[in-house]
């Protein structure tokens, strides 16, 4: 990243400064938090809440306008959860998986579509909340907790049997998986979003007009795919934790 920051020195356009790892620090007691991440995440959260409230404010049997849109979104999320968890199990996990998808998707697209960088804040710049490793790690760890919770609430201590099935020799790999799962989830999302923003920033820095547009479009696509991948994998992990060995034979 040093070379990129070096490039920004010769850049005369304010639009195309490239900054990574500079934060708008807020202090809460002895802790520090990244203010720019929270500002954009609040924006994302309020977008989601406002859209939901508008959609459910006046519910009708024949949906219209935003209710129709949000119903389409809900059906999409239901299908997503149902595909991973199955018809029987998906309902209690719909809010978790659905919110993962919505939060990541709206975060990513807000980063790609809204020119956050035009709003000047001291010491840093606004970007998608998923652009910060803290956000993605938080979401990935929540996913880990979610599938542990799912496994233990479904099978109690019998969940540990998952580690030695089908053969005990896989035990180290299974234990390792519990660490690689959140790691891969968080870094995949973080890397994709950050890389996309960096590539666009570098291209804007080199050729400010028109040339970055295809890449921005590709960025929108990547952003959507990453949200889908994160939610799908979360569903798959939860399903893996709750699926019984006995049920496998029943299929």
């Amino acid at each position: 990243m040093e070379s990129l920051e070096g490039l920004s020195v010769i850049n005369s356009f304010h639009l195309a400064t490239i900054e990574v790892g500079k934060h708008f620090i807020w202090k809460i007691g002895s802790f520090t938090v990244h203010g720019q991440v929270f500002m954009t995440s609040w924006f994302v959260i309020s977008v989601l809440l406002i859209a939901s409230i508008l959609a459910t404010k006046n519910i009708q049997r024949v949906p219209q306008g935003i209710q129709n849109l949000m119903e389409y979104v809900l059906e999409f999320l239901r299908d997503l959860a149902k595909n991973q968890l199955g018809e029987k199990e998906y309902r209690p996990w719909l809010p978790f998986i659905g919110t993962l998808f919505l939060f990541i998707f709206v975060s990513n697209w807000s980063g790609a579509l809204i020119p956050w960088k035009l709003i000047a804040i001291p010491g840093s710049e606004l970007a998608a909340p998923t652009n910060d490793i803290n956000t993605t790690v938080a979401l990935a760890l929540l996913t880990s907790l979610a599938y542990f919770y799912a496994g233990f609430s479904k099978k109690g201590l019998g969940y540990f049997a998952n580690y030695i099935e089908p053969i005990p020799i896989l035990l180290p790999i299974k234990i390792l998986e519990d660490f690689t799962k959140p790691l891969s989830l968080s870094f995949r999302l973080f890397g994709n979003i950050l890389a996309d923003e960096l590539v666009v920033a570098v291209l804007v820095f080199l050729v400010p007009l028109f040339i970055p547009l295809p890449l921005m479009a590709l960025g929108l696509f990547t952003s959507a795919i990453q949200a889908l991948v994160f939610a799908t994998l979360a569903g798959a992990y939860i399903h893996e934790a709750i699926e019984g060995h006995d049920e496998e034979h029943g299929h």
Binding site: F31, M70, P95, L102, P129, I133, T135
Partner: protein
């Protein structure tokens, strides 16, 4: 770039709050609506299907009735025709019988009259022939 601090746990808490709120204002109410609508459509469809089946049954019943009525009417016509034919035949036979009887009577009458006429004729022939004889031979000779 990889500087972790209190952002991560706060973000997790924030996410959980968002999940809770969205569950209240998004998932629960809209899921309810979707389920209710699915139920509504299903019940309506069932109802419609039932009605359709009922209609089909009724149609079949009516068609059966129609066929029965048609058969009945044909039967009625056939019996009426047969009856009429029978009546005609009866009347015809009666009339023919009557005619036969009358014919026979008349014939008999004719016969008797013919016989009586023959008888009178024979008498007349007798007397005539006598007269002829008298004329030819004279009265004395004839006696």
């Amino acid at each position: 770039m990889f500087d972790f601090d209190a952002t991560a746990p706060l973000m997790a808490v924030q996410f959980l709050i968002l999940m809770f709120l969205l569950n209240k204002v998004f998932y629960t109410p809209l899921s309810k609506v979707l389920d209710e609508r699915a139920d509504y459509i299903q019940s309506k469809e069932k109802d419609a299907r039932q009605r359709l089946a009922q209609t089909k049954q009724l149609t079949q019943e009516y068609e059966k009735q129609l066929v029965g009525a048609r058969k009945q009417s044909q039967e009625v016509i056939a019996t009426a025709q047969a009856e009429a034919k029978k009546i005609t035949a009866d009347k015809l036979a009666e009339a023919q019988k009557l005619a036969q009887i009358q014919k026979e009577q008349v014939q008999q009458e004719i016969e008797t009259q013919k016989q009586s006429a023959m008888a009178t004729l024979e008498q007349q022939v007798d007397s005539l022939s006598r007269q002829i004889l008298e004329k030819l031979l004279g009265a004395e000779l004839v006696k």
